[in-house]
């Protein structure tokens, strides 16, 4: 009788442990996602300033500027992780196109305000890449835990769902995630 009680107590204890570690992992995933979100928002905030600064100089590049503005508003409207990663990588593409075009405008490149903005955007771009890296690490941990025995039993009972990876749409884009316009 005593043994049965001890065994049940032990099982409950292990059960609670698994449940708690699942919750902790899920919160870490959420936290990592909010880290990315902060950086994405920062990028969205910086872009209007950038366009404002560039507009006066780049009279003949209205299409490029318009492309960025459109990509930005699309990215701001995106909801799920999958949608967001698609829209954000489109925005990244538009931005890198812009910075290639900038090379033709030495006046703009000499503008102090623009240089400061450029540094901020480079940094934000890098921060997005780095936080994506750590978000994906967390998601991998979490998804492994959900799929593996015995924690998958607890995950099944409480209906834990696997999280999406934050991946870049285009495979070729992954090779050049670096935005380098050295100061």
């Amino acid at each position: 009788m005593l043994f049965v009680i001890i065994a049940i107590g032990l099982l409950v204890f292990i059960f609670i442990g698994f449940y708690n570690s699942l919750i902790r992992l899920r919160n870490q995933v959420k936290n990592a996602w909010s880290q990315i979100d902060v950086q994405l928002k920062r990028r969205h905030d910086l872009i209007p300033n950038l366009i404002e600064t560039a507009k006066g100089y780049m009279k003949h590049e209205q299409d490029t500027l318009k492309g960025i503005t459109e990509a930005r508003s699309k990215a701001m409207g995106a909801g799920s992780v999958g949608e967001k990663s698609k829209a954000e990588s489109a925005l990244s593409g538009a931005m890198s196109k812009f910075f290639v075009v900038v090379e033709n405008y030495p006046d703009l490149k000499a503008n102090q305000n623009f240089l400061a903005l450029q540094e901020e955007l480079t940094s934000t771009e890098n921060k997005i890449a780095f936080s994506r890296q750590s978000y994906n690490d967390q998601v991998l941990f979490f998804n492994n835990k959900i799929q593996m025995f015995p924690s998958n039993i607890v995950a099944g009972i409480f209906n834990f769902k696997q999280e999406d990876f934050f991946e870049l749409e285009d495979k070729t884009e992954r090779a050049v995630p670096k935005v380098d316009f050295s100061s």
Binding site: K55, G56, V176
Partner: protein, 480 residues
């Protein structure tokens, strides 16, 4: 990642206790050499006391002692925004719980180090020379290396073992010196019996031997581990940035300098990314150097192929430094993770402009020393020392009368106290609340000065009613 940190912590703990035991054995025999049997207990107790005292001191204020020794100054983000950006990027990449404090040493020699108790209380220190000589990628490599020391918990280990090594060296030094002067007469203090005298004689010989050997052994052990940690930090830096070329060319630039870092000394030399004390003769023995040979580190970084994982660094290491032998830089328990991390392609290096670099260096050193910069409308940049009292003065080139941003001078003067508090406040609410109104005169290009002293330009295309000053955060209203 976690296996690596755990293995590192264990090694630090082992080293810490080995050194402590070394210290106590030394104390035991030295005590015995002077005071016989009671002396051994006294010596043991004294050594234990020194060990505990030193550990407590280095735990709570080791980092501030080191920072003060190396003349590092805490800076705010506006002194060098790029540095802060890079540090924050690396903080995100390393997934650290808190942003490390950033210090700059106003010295033209390029170098960097990290110190602190744990990732929550870490400090990253760079010299002004480093900032002026490296480009963004290289700076990122160096900061990643320092962040790896924080992440791998090397910072506490370095301070602890440095302090313990110091006390062992000190104790044996004092003993040997006293032997030299008293000529071994110390034993007469408590020679009560002939037998005791004999034991004391043996004690004396052992003590002399220990006093000669212990510092040597402790130093070799310390250096061996410190060299290994440099390699390991390189490997982690590559894993964080995925760009080994950045760190490699940074190391190349730092090592090619012929300026000596004046504030570095023997005690702090092991902390720096590259040994700041240049040995007079080339090729000192590998056993006695705090850092692995720099050429080797660069070569390893440049041979990494296939990915940014630890296994790739290990392979490159065996190829270059191992010379066929199997020597593990990375604990094998940490290597097993098979995740495939891609390297970034090497971007073209841009030519460095030395003239601009020299000017930047001077400006940076002034900024660290709390100078205030104001730019005249004619384009001249003027540097005001921290004690500047007048509220306006004429430009030496064009004669315009310039307003001195007295508020900013006062803020900078108090920058060392409560810097963290000020920083958070600045993010939520700008410290200068009152807005500034500028009336446009025409439709073309216009230039004016914000009350904080920074020059503003309005383009013909500017059509908004207001914008925020990028220096002080003040709202500037534009009326036409």
């Amino acid at each position: 990642m976690w296996e690596l940190i755990r293995a590192n912590k264990q090694k630090s703990l082992i080293l810490f206790f080995v050194m402590g035991i070394c210290l106590m054995v030394l104390g035991y025999f030295i005590g015995g050499a002077y005071g016989g049997e009671e002396g051994t207990f006294f010596g043991l107790g004294l050594a234990l006391f020194i060990w505990i005292l030193m550990s407590v001191i280095s735990y709570f204020s080791g980092d501030s002692i080191i920072l003060a020794l190396s003349k590092a100054k805490r800076v705010s983000p506006n002194v060098h925004p790029q540095l802060f950006n890079v540090v924050e990027e690396m903080k995100i990449a390393a997934n650290l719980p808190a942003m490390p404090k950033v210090y700059i040493i106003p010295d033209p020699a390029p170098n960097a180090f990290a110190t602190g108790r744990n990732p929550q209380n870490a400090s990253i220190v760079v010299t002004a020379g480093l900032l002026s000589q490296l480009n963004r990628d290289e700076l990122q490599g160096v900061i990643a290396h320092e962040m790896s020391h924080v992440l791998n918990r090397d910072i506490l280990f370095m301070t602890f073992s440095g302090v313990l090594l110091g006390s062992i060296v000190f104790l044996s030094h004092v003993f040997l010196r006293s032997m030299w002067f008293t000529g071994g007469r110390g034993r007469r203090y408590s020679s009560r019996s002939k037998g005791g005298g004999q034991i004391q004689m043996i004690m004396m010989i052992v003590a002399i031997l220990m006093a000669i050997l212990a510092p040597l052994m402790a130093r070799l052990l310390y250096l061996a581990i410190s060299r290994k940690r440099e390699y390991l930090a390189d490997a982690t830096a590559v894993r964080l940035t995925r760009y080994p070329e950045g760190l490699a060319s940074a190391l190349e630039k730092i090592s090619s300098t012929d300026i000596n870092l004046t504030s570095a000394n023997k005690a702090t030399a092991a902390l720096y990314i590259i040994n700041p004390l240049k040995p007079k003769g080339r090729k000192l023995s590998n056993l006695s150097s705090t850092h692995p040979p720099i050429d080797e580190r660069i070569k390893i970084l440049r041979t990494i192929a296939g990915g940014a994982n630890y296994i790739n660094y290990q392979n490159a290491f065996t190829k270059i430094a191992g010379r066929g032998k199997r020597s593990n830089i990375i604990p094998s328990s940490a290597i097993h993770d098979k995740e495939n991390i891609k390297l970034q392609t090497i971007s073209k290096p841009e030519p460095a402009s030395t003239k601009k670099g020299v000017r930047d260096l001077g400006d940076l050193m002034r900024a660290v020393n709390k100078y205030v910069f104001i730019s005249c409308l004619c384009g001249l940049k003027m540097k005001l020392p921290p004690g500047f009292k007048k509220d306006k003065f004429p430009c030496p080139r064009c004669g315009r009368i310039n307003q001195v941003p007295i508020a900013e001078l006062a803020v900078l003067a108090g920058v060392t106290q409560g810097l963290g508090k000020q920083h958070t406040k600045k993010e939520t609410t700008p410290s200068h609340k009152q807005k500034f109104v500028y009336h446009r005169t025409g439709k073309g290009w216009e230039t004016f000065t914000c009350p904080c002293g920074s020059a503003k330009q309005l383009s013909p295309a500017f059509d908004k009613d207001f914008f925020y000053c990028n220096k002080c955060g003040r709202k500037i209203e534009i009326k036409s």
